[in-house]
């Protein structure tokens, strides 16, 4: 209905003439990157932050999952492939998130999804996940337990800092900020976790910037 389009735009252009130029207010300089704030925000939002090193993150996850006795799905990111391999070796129930896995199976049979964050935002305790062929959209959404890996070196001050860092880079299909497990307070302001998405969020914080001893 291009008639509607033209009529709307025409009315808006009519109104444009009468306006004064609005003021500009500069951005505040970004706050310090605080690891403590990042962890505190996530914990307040009911997420678990698991501190690990590049050398032991795989064994840490696999060990924790072994005691869970659940089925895990991985995407084809480098870390996803490593985890898939390690989980297989430990005899865990693990599958690929690929064409073989249909939607109903994902909803009914997968308990744990593994994702990798591109960045972390300290000021709000947020994980930035850019989806794509190796990072499916539903992997961090449908399984009741979501595990997201974040490298300490990618932690930024806040969302503004991330936007500045991105510059003009093309946007992914879906750019997500995840700041906890899904929740609702729609029943008499009582907080409940696991509204529609994950009931639990584990953040694997891989410390890749540790000073040499």
């Amino acid at each position: 209905m291009s008639d509607a389009r033209n009529a709307i735009l025409q009315r808006l252009r009519q109104g444009q003439a009468q306006q004064a130029k609005p003021v500009e207010v500069p951005l505040r300089s970004p706050s310090q990157v605080s690891l403590e704030d990042f962890c505190e925000h996530l914990q307040n939002a009911h997420a678990q932050v698991i501190h690990c090193r590049p050398s032991d993150w795989l064994s840490t996850v696999v060990q924790r999952l072994a005691s869970h006795g659940t089925s895990l799905a991985c995407g084809r990111s480098a870390e996803g492939q490593q985890l898939h391999q390690a989980a297989l070796e430990q005899g865990l129930n693990v599958c690929w998130y690929d064409e073989q896995l249909d939607k109903q199976q994902l909803f009914d049979q997968v308990d744990v999804g593994f994702s990798v964050a591109q960045a972390g935002l300290a000021a709000t305790g947020s994980l930035v996940v850019e989806t794509g062929p190796d990072e499916p959209r539903m992997l961090s959404l449908v399984p009741p337990l979501s595990i997201v890996l974040l490298r300490r070196s990618t932690l930024l001050a806040d969302f503004n800092a991330y936007v500045q860092q991105r510059g003009d880079a093309a946007m992914p299909t879906n750019l997500l900020l995840i700041s906890g497990p899904s929740k609702t307070a729609d029943i008499q302001q009582t907080l409940a976790y696991g509204a529609h998405g994950p009931k639990e969020l584990w953040v694997l914080l891989v410390n890749d910037v540790e000073e040499p001893a």
């Binding site: 209905m1 609005p22 939607k103 969302f159 503004n160 700041s179 029943i187 998405g197």
Partner: protein
Amino acid sequence: MTVQNYDPALMAAQVDNDEKAFADLRQRHFKARAKLSLENEQLRGSFLGATDFLQAKRRAVFEDTSELEHLRDRGEAIRQQSLAQLPDLLETLEKNLTANGIQVHWAETAEQACAHVHSILAANNARTVVKGKSMVSEEIELNHYLEKQGIECLESDMGEYLVQLAKEMPSHIIMPAIHKTTAQIARLMHSRAERSDGQPVPYTEDVDELIGNARAILRDKFASADAGISGVNMAIANTGTLCLVENEGNGRMSTTAPPIHIAITGIEKVVADLADVPDLLSLLTRSATGQHISTYFNMISSPRKTGELDGPEQVHLVLVDNGRSRMFNHPQLKPTLQCIRCGACMNHCPVYARIGGHAYGSTYPGPIGQVVTPQMQGLDKQGELVSACTLNGACGEACPVRIPLPKLIRELRHEANSTAPASELDIPGKGSQRHLGEAVVWKGWALAHQYGPVYRSMTWALSRGRSLMPHRLGAWTATRTMPMPAEKSLHELAKAAGIQQQPSGVEDPS
């Protein structure tokens, strides 16, 4: 927490009664709705409790007031800049969305918007739809429209789902079921919710269990729905991106799991650049629920791309005008379009806290609703809404993008009584609230204050005739005593005390 002795028939009857009471309320005029709501103790408790809770949460999250004021300046500037370039931004948005593979549809009216959604669904033979939270879809009464076309449109936001189950409307733009107690919701879920196997859900008053039951029902729907509908919190013109703010994950589910995603938004929601988004997001979540950020912030820039494993194959955006371009043309009322729909104004409004969302009888309640609704539906139909304001200014102080709400409400009161000649871009129903009696009183008042002799005769007559004043004066004296004029006017007392008349032309010391 299960109840041992309960009667399912009695519960169903209570739920039906709630529905009837709501339907009854909808039939009445604004004043009658407000009165009924004020008489409902439970309802008043729900709203006072909720607004106190949300006010406290907002206060706690904005502990640094200088940061808050700076952010509000930023928010106001970003929104005003976006509006200043609105037609250009809309064209850029359309161009970039189209380049990204998202189809754009324009609708001048609610009817046109519904028809767009329906034709997209019909073209794809979609029969079942899950919907994330969208106030614009409420505004255009989309569910109702689709239902008539035989399409089931299930609300998936927990609050919206409960309200739909109860056959009611949201009473708050952020917390739609804020008017219901846990006990009412427990009865509602048990009487009306149906599991995928066709069985009713067990009775429980435990909030985790209630949410768990709804979760199970809705996850089955997400997995099987033919299409998903969502709102949009911000649309980014330069990147062609639709942004959604939510905590529950139903927004992500509705826009990711089904093969088609249809987003609906008002034309005012566009911003120029990604750099405009972080501060608006921060203002929105902190003002709405006192959260530093919502659980999810979801930025969608395209349908599923080659090689990707999930996400919808089609994404559509319906841009809805429905009166917005008219607001855009009103020099005083234009800031209405700055709104980011956080709900802080209603959380801080003493009238909203007492009469509740349903009394307004409109999609948008509270101060912003009083400003938006008459402009959309006309002052003749909704002009009474602007009277539900004490002009205490709390909404204007809470607004994260500094919309001068009290000023806009005053302007609408003026418009409602205006006799200025009509023009094409007028608010519908302009001048419709004008009453002859009221107009004469104000005219007399204005004359008295313009001419000294008239003023003196008026005060003389009032003070000498004070015993003749009526004791009751309509609704005003229902809860107040009638003010009694003094025996002598201030001017007379001053003269008697020997105070000289102030010479004219004296500079005001302030």
